[in-house]
Amino acid sequence: MNPEKGPQQGRAIRRARTVTLLAVFVAVIVSLAFDSGLGTPSSFGIGEFFLLCPLGGLEALLASKALIPVTLISLAVVAVGALLLGRSWCAWGCPAPVIRRFFKREPKFEGLGSGEGPNACAAGHPTDALATEDEGAGNGGKPQGCAAKTAVRSLWRDRLAHAGRDPRTWTLVAVLVAALIAGFPLFCLVCPIGLTFGTVGSLWHLIVDKQMTFSVLVFPAALLVELVLYRKWCMNLCPIAGLLNLFGQFAQFGRPRINEATCLRADGTPCTACTAVCSERIDMHDADGAIQLGDCTRCGECAKACPTGSITFALKAQGEDRPAVAPTAEEPVAG
């Protein structure tokens, strides 16, 4: 196998992501300039055929206490997309990671299991780590013997536990409750995606319509507080990530896979290159790696960073060749 294939693919994915995000911005500006109504990522489409932000849509349904047919239809389409591609939006469409990277405020890697406190096994021998990880951290997996009981119930319990541990699941709950009580989509006010394209729009109105407004200053200021001052928005707070994570558990398409034969961990080297660059701090070598991969944003950084080029992305979902040190640790999920 070509050891350069993974990094090459990673670089290609990074380029493709830059192009898609640029295309989003161009589409928003073209839409403003030519009245084409393409819209913003909050809702985009052509004429009466559109998709909308799944969180905004849910908030609107809860706030209005009405079943809005057009919204329900669009939400169903978005849900199918999320079931196929999971969190891809976060790396391919959302401007937040790029803004953070621009200010060089990416969260630091604090070792394996950083999200759940210290992990004693972080630098240990991977073979030992696998066996003892569950004692090390809440984030750790289950003992092999337990995971080997590949009952559907246990998989669902793992998924639920994973979602329960994720603070973003609870931001999502808070946001939906707030919309229900307030009677309007409250989160849309502070949404980084909304604020980004609100900034683009207000700049457009400033330049083209000579509309002087403090929005031009307030929107980017709020955005900077959320993303730059507090650098862990995506990791800890984003309710959109929380919502997409729930779908991501089922999304088998486009996940990264490890070639166990060339991975440094195979001979005991405590390499964490892939986890360190992962925006979700996914440890594919963990016993619950497949569950963690539900949060994968398909950003390709792990493939780019892997020193042995052992990580590749395949668009196609593959049951038996999924990443895990111990293939018995998970059952194949019917797509």
Partner: protein, 207 residues
């Protein structure tokens, strides 16, 4: 299983805190929800319903062929910021229905411009202290000629009068009103005729 129960307890705690935070934020915003008193796109639902549905995607603003829709600024209302409002500074509404078609949450409904009683953008009101025809009778009447819905006519002194039951607030009269330009020497930027929200109109009629 002791460990897993620990996680459960922590989850419950976080979950409870999240719900409480949601209730608190929601309750704090509740009294401020529908406070913006601005012209909404034609056929918009009542303000509280409109606010409940609008996700501030600005798609209506981007599709509007006459660019009369703009996002509310922070000065106009912090909680309603980025929701659409109608401004007739440069053009008027043609009731083309595009904003209704693109709204992803159906916050904008259908409207018949010839049936203002069933739904309208607002009502035009002549400002006697700004209108040129009130200053010098017979000098101006462009708004009367411009009104596509024959809601404007002259009174006996050749001053424009709005028939409120015919006016849907399309803004054609506002767009064409030259008072802003003609009286610019005396200061002020108000036009001789403006479209008021139905709420503002009711308040003005009452006083």
């Amino acid at each position: 299983m002791a460990k897993s129960r620990g996680i459960e307890r922590r989850t419950l705690l976080i979950g409870g805190a999240a719900v409480a935070a949601g209730v608190l934020c929601g309750a704090a915003a509740l009294p401020l929800a529908a406070q913006a008193d601005v012209l909404r796109p034609p056929g918009s639902l009542p303000e509280d319903e409109f606010m409940a549905r609008c996700i501030r995607c600005e798609r209506c603003i981007s599709v509007c062929p006459t660019d009369v829709l703009a996002p509310l600024t922070v000065e106009q209302g912090v909680l309603a910021v980025r929701t659409p409002f109608v401004t007739f500074a440069a053009d008027s509404c043609t009731f083309c229905d595009e904003c209704r078609k693109v709204c992803p949450t159906a916050a904008i409904g259908t409207v018949d411009p010839y049936q203002p009683a069933l739904g309208r953008i607002g009502v035009a009101v002549v400002e006697p202290d700004r209108c040129v025809a009130f200053d010098q009778a017979g000098t101006c009447g462009v708004c009367v000629d411009a009104c596509p819905y024959e809601a404007l006519s002259f009174d006996e002194g050749r001053r424009p009068v709005v028939e409120a039951e015919k006016c849907n607030g399309c803004g054609e009269c506002v767009k064409i009103c030259p008072a802003n330009v003609l009286t610019s020497f005396s200061g002020g930027s108000q036009r001789g005729i403006n479209v008021l929200t139905t709420k503002q109109y009711a308040e003005r009629s009452a006083s």
